[in-house]
């Protein structure tokens, strides 16, 4: 049993502490925005925020989020910031198959919440652990840049 805060609510997982956070989110709590790509920490499809920092949920044992706050895309979706990111991803053509998108959005949020005016190099660094097989990245970088430009005051 491990207690933590999930998308703002206190929850208790019944899974053993060594269970991957990814499996707890998807299977126990039914939060399927968090994807499994590689399962080895390489691709970022499983990115979530832990205490506002980007973590790969596939290499995070449940025990490591005990008493911490975890945010998945589902918990972020009803915010102004999310709506702006969604709009900018759409405008920039940053979504094709969409498999990487939840992770990319979480990586963008992690970046902008610490650095609302990122340089292009900082955007590339921030998403460097998130693989996209479709877009070639430039559109994603563009989407984040648009969000930063339009989002004055949001972050």
């Amino acid at each position: 049993m491990v207690e933590f805060t999930l998308n703002g609510k206190n929850v208790t997982s019944q899974q053993p502490p060594h269970t991957r956070l990814l499996d707890v989110l998807r299977e126990e709590f039914g939060l399927r925005a968090t994807k499994e790509g590689c399962g080895e920490g390489e691709c970022g499809a499983c990115s979530v925020l832990v205490e506002g920092m980007l973590w790969n949920s596939c290499v995070t044992p449940l025990a490591n989020v005990r008493r911490k706050s975890v945010t998945t895309l589902e918990g972020f979706r009803d915010t102004e910031r999310y709506r702006l990111l969604e709009q900018c991803f759409s405008e920039a053509g940053a979504v094709q198959c969409g498999f990487c998108t939840p992770g990319m959005i979480m990586a963008a949020e992690a970046l902008l919440s610490h650095n609302p005016w990122p340089l292009e190099a900082e955007i590339r660094e921030a998403i460097s652990g998130n693989l996209c097989r479709c877009t070639g990245y430039n559109m994603i970088v563009d989407a984040v840049r648009r969000a930063a430009a339009k989002g004055a005051g949001l972050w």
């Binding site: 053993p16 502490p17 060594h18 991957r20 399962g39 080895e40 920490g41 390489e42 970022g44 990115s47 832990v50 920092m53 980007l54 973590w55 790969n56 596939c58 290499v59 995070t60 044992p61 025990a63 490591n64 005990r66 008493r67 990586a107 992690a110 660094e125 921030a126 460097s128 652990g129 998130n130």
Partner: protein, 280 residues
């Protein structure tokens, strides 16, 4: 059956380790053990131990708690720049937010990216165990005594790593410090090879020089003997003797072919980096 322990104090973690010995495994960030799906009958999670997450400088020693994440250390100005740069070259933000320096040391991978820098910084690993009296007993080992080979360390079954210490004298007033990782791409790449160098030049004389190579053998390659030969040279002498020095290092480096690179490439690039570094 896996028993999970989430101790509330370092003493409690050490008590559990003392009881379970080799049946117990520590988990810090989990970025090594989770992809490898490693488990042990007793798993001891260190995440909640705030006592392990401190960086402090007392007198002439910088102490880095075993629980400090890379991200925390990269942003901490007490940490020598050369080490921060080496950590910045590891993986990508999400792995650096969870992974720890101590985990990198304990994992003792030949390609561990902090290891060459820790060698040139003369890092000391602080291991601790719980005495029968309940006191925490510390043991200090130089990094090259702590790492014995690929995934082998001198840690005893009842011990854990409490901190990594760096003598401040190892990084103050340096003339040139460099850490360089060569990988297939910038992010998420395991090193094909890596190099770290530190030196101090005073009045045109090399007073102190320390050089280390990673991923070219089971453990980091550093030769105090060769360094002694370089120390004391004037810059002109160094320029004259550079080829001899490179030849001596060429004989010392015994890299292997593997899926990431070839022995020939590794040797060549190591020597080029060294040559560049010694161009003062």
């Amino acid at each position: 059956m896996v028993t999970a322990c989430m101790p509330a104090s370092v003493a409690e973690a050490l008590y559990m380790k003392k009881k379970a010995g080799e049946r117990a495994m520590f988990v810090a960030g989990g970025t090594d053990i989770m992809p490898a799906r490693q488990t042990a009958p007793v798993m001891i999670y260190l995440q909640g131990l705030h006592d392990l997450s401190r960086v402090s400088r007392s007198g002439t020693v910088l102490s880095i708690g075993a629980g400090c994440s890379y991200t925390q250390l990269i942003h901490d100005e007490l940490i020598p720049l050369v080490l921060r740069e080496a950590m910045q070259s590891i993986a990508a933000p999400a792995i650096r937010n969870a992974g720890t320096l101590a985990g990198n040391v304990c994992r003792a991978s030949p390609a561990g990216d902090t290891l060459p820098v820790l060698h040139v910084l003369e890092a000391v690993v602080v291991a601790g165990h719980l005495a029968d009296s309940g006191a925490i007993v510390e043991r200090r080992l130089a990094i090259e005594k702590f790492i014995l080979g690929n995934r082998r360390t001198a840690l005893r079954p009842e011990e854990m790593v409490l901190a990594v210490e760096i003598p401040c004298s190892s990084y103050e007033n340096l003339t040139k410090m460099q850490s360089c990782k060569v990988g297939g791409r910038k992010a998420q790449a395991i090193a094909k090879l890596s190099f770290a160098g530190i030196c101090r030049v005073k009045a045109d004389v090399l007073q102190d020089v320390r050089l280390a190579f990673g991923a070219v053998g089971p453990a980091v390659v550093r030769s105090r003997e060769l360094e002694k030969k370089i120390q004391g040279l004037t810059l002109t002498e160094l320029a004259d003797k550079k080829n001899d020095i490179l030849n001596e290092y060429a004989a010392l480096l015994q890299p292997l072919d593997d899926q990431r690179s070839t022995a020939a490439y590794r040797r060549q690039v190591c020597l080029s980096l060294l040559e560049d570094y010694l161009t003062l």
